[in-house]
Amino acid sequence: MNDSEQAPIIPEEGEVGFVEYQDFVSKEPFKFVSGGNLPELTLRYETYGHLNAAKDNAILICHALSGDHHCAGVHGIEERKQGWWNFMVGPGKPIDTTRYFVICSNVLGGCQGSTGPGSINPETGKAYQLDFPKLTVQDMVKAQSLLVDHFEIDRLHAVIGGSMGGMQTVQWAIDFPDRVGRYIALACGARHTAQAIAFNDTGRQAIISDPAWQQGSYDPEHGPDQGLAVARMMAHITYLSDVGMESKFGRKRRNADESKEHFEVEFEVESYLRYQGASFVSRFDANSYLYLTKALDRFDLHGPESLDATLSTVTAPGLVVGFTSDWLYPPQGNREIVESLLRLGKHATYAELAMDFGHDSFLVRAPRLYELIQRFLIR
């Protein structure tokens, strides 16, 4: 029994092509949930497509922990790598830029151009570092809402995100029910499991115990690179799955000569992870990593009262997608959000994809994910 009466929409696909980032600066003081303040803030963002006259066709994309505002297109002719969600965003793609105006901003507390621990505090002329206020997912979303205000958009057509971006997406639906037309949260959960917190803290300890960290007051040129690289290597394992790693690397050897230096790179998987660690250091700030992972660990939709109480403000229809091989944010954590929404009588859908790519499955092009997102946005 297929739905042959409704053939899938497969329009000609194009690319968003060359893109440039912009900086949005709010000169107003920004207050954090914790009570801390920033005198002003900057959000770096990219947009694709055109905002229509009614300003009702905007889609906000929220990126994951190590992602950024560059989710589609390329910055220049020499850039080989496209934005992190390029297969999903563009003309004729599920997040169709001929139809929607797409906004993606670097998260508050991040380090790719938005204000974070590495930014200069205009009041002191020095980087915030550990003087940066305690950060929560709610703060990230509140900052994004200022950017949405800047475009004079009252109501977003949709908010979409995976992982940390999924948590922001659900937080948007909770905090701004009147401004969210619908939302899609992928590979997320209502709160971190003990295992997820454990992995994050091991990563944080790798950074903190690196002598170069210096209680967070390191010179950006000489940061705790070793610690950050190890944190990234370990986190990266949690984004994959055992099956995925086995099929990608198995026991393939990089260096067959065992007589060489005993602990040099020997297996392919070692080489891959060391590369991941090293390249992460060149684009990420260690203090940002500490702040963002802590914000994720503290994120808890079950509190202060209950999951149902927290989600009670949601009005928009939602789609939550879990991935069977995701052991960082397992299906159950995704499912319980929808179970709660359905208990509350909300419009919510839960779909589960059997993919081997672990937590990172949402970053992999899959026809069914494609179709789900395309259809949910059009309805």
């Binding site: 029994m1 499912r335 179970e339 359905l342 839960y350 779909a351 069914r368 789900l372 309805r379």
Partner: protein, 203 residues
């Protein structure tokens, strides 16, 4: 709509008679969400579908029907008592591993439980078994045994005996003849091709 689709949706109109405007409806084994879409349009219900198959969930998304991909027992357990006005199992009960427990849960979560099924006792099905030793095959279930979902078919009489034993109240019942269109008014266990029940628990 093909004749098969017509037959496949045989129970929609009957179920719509029992559902009130604005009711809350949970469809277990919702398939492509056609019944819920129909009820949304006819009765402005709040409907939720449940199915184990991702392809079916995508079809529900296309129709704008909220749906939950997963296990029927698990989703029922997550709801408090009387969360829905109707819990529907249309051609679902025969595929359940623990029909008894699921029906009990359905009656806890819903004020009414609607069950629709192909009558194993229908004379053609009996004849098929008697003359050819074959399983029940019809327009809706055309596939041979080795290409079909595991199924545990039962008859009108067996179902009513079960309801009796479990003290389940049959509030309404409709038997359809072999074409699944006209109502069958006599000897349902022998002459009904399809049966639909509106059930509730005593309390």
């Amino acid at each position: 709509m093909s004749p098969n689709d017509k037959k496949r949706q045989a129970d929609s109109q009957i179920i719509a008679r029992w559902v009130h405007e604005g009711d809350r409806v949970l469809d277990l084994g919702c398939g492509r969400g056609i019944l819920l879409e129909y009820l949304q349009q006819k009765k402005s219900i709040y409907g939720v579908g449940v199915d184990i198959d991702l392809g079916k969930i995508i079809s529900c998304v296309k129709r704008g029907v909220p749906a939950y991909q997963g296990d029927i027992g698990a989703i029922l357990a997550s709801f408090p008592d009387d969360s829905f006005d109707h819990v529907i199992l249309s051609r679902t009960v025969e595929h359940l591993e623990d029909a008894d427990a699921i029906l009990a849960e359905g009656l806890r979560v819903g004020r009414h439980v609607t069950v629709g099924f192909v009558n194993k006792g229908f004379w053609i099905n009996r004849l098929n078994a008697l003359l050819h030793g074959k399983r029940t095959v019809n327009e809706v279930y055309p596939k041979p045994w080795y290409e079909s979902m595991p199924s545990n078919p039962f008859s009108v009489a067996e179902f009513e005996t079960f309801c009796d034993a479990r003290k389940i109240v049959i509030e309404n019942r409709v038997y359809l003849s072999g074409d699944w269109l006209d109502e069958c008014r006599k000897l349902p266990n022998l002459l009904a091709g399809y049966a639909i029940y509106d059930l509730s628990s005593i309390d």
